[in-house]
Symmetry: C2
């Protein structure tokens, strides 16, 4: 399965999912699957979250409570769930506010190793 | 009920909770309830997370997807759940990795309005 196929499957399975991406900390997506009717500026979002995630990673490193694994950020209209893959890449799931957060987190965790393996090939 | 009593009640109800705080974005806690055996440097954590949360708030504002409501950050040994209260203050729940994340989030949401009211008095 390609990156995109795997991301698409996650988006299709989760109620309220808007899209899923594999991204680098440099703000450049490796691949993405976005619902056709999505009204978000995914490009802007990707760049802003990559910058932010670097800050979060720095803070987590300072606090020495183990490596960063998962981050979720909920605002008025959007829930963003992020799972770190390795030192270079992370995955992002964008959800409507009332989307299935629990299932989304679970599927990110479930797919993380497969994505890690694909990134190393 | 005082800030501390309400925070203590949350910590006691949630399996794996280490502590709960009401904090300002300036890094100064208003009040806190920390389990006696906690080995964390809560002071350092408070300052680092306040700085980080300002960054997260800035990003959320740039993306215009509604105001920041909830943030959770999981590292190897610790889960930090944060709920924004108003422009100045937020609440933090510190959990062991295997603690009851769902109940913790629920209790933060449930208590947010009471804390907001207390902060305005």
């Amino acid at each position: 399965m390609s990156f995109r196929e795997r991301l698409k499957k996650i988006v299709e399975q989760v109620d309220g999912a808007i899209g899923a991406l594999i991204m680098g900390y440099d703000g450049i997506p490796i691949d993405e699957s976005i619902r056709p009717n999505a009204s978000l500026d995914v490009q802007l979002l990707a760049v802003e979250y990559a910058t932010l995630l670097k800050e979060i990673k720095r803070t987590v490193d300072v606090l020495k409570t183990g490596g960063m694994e998962e981050v979720s950020i909920t605002s008025g209209e959007l829930r963003v769930v992020i799972r770190a893959l390795n030192e270079e890449f992370f995955m992002v799931l964008l959800l409507e506010k009332e989307g299935n957060f629990g299932l989304g987190r679970y599927l990110l965790r479930l797919n993380a190793q497969a994505f890690r393996d694909m990134l190393q090939d």
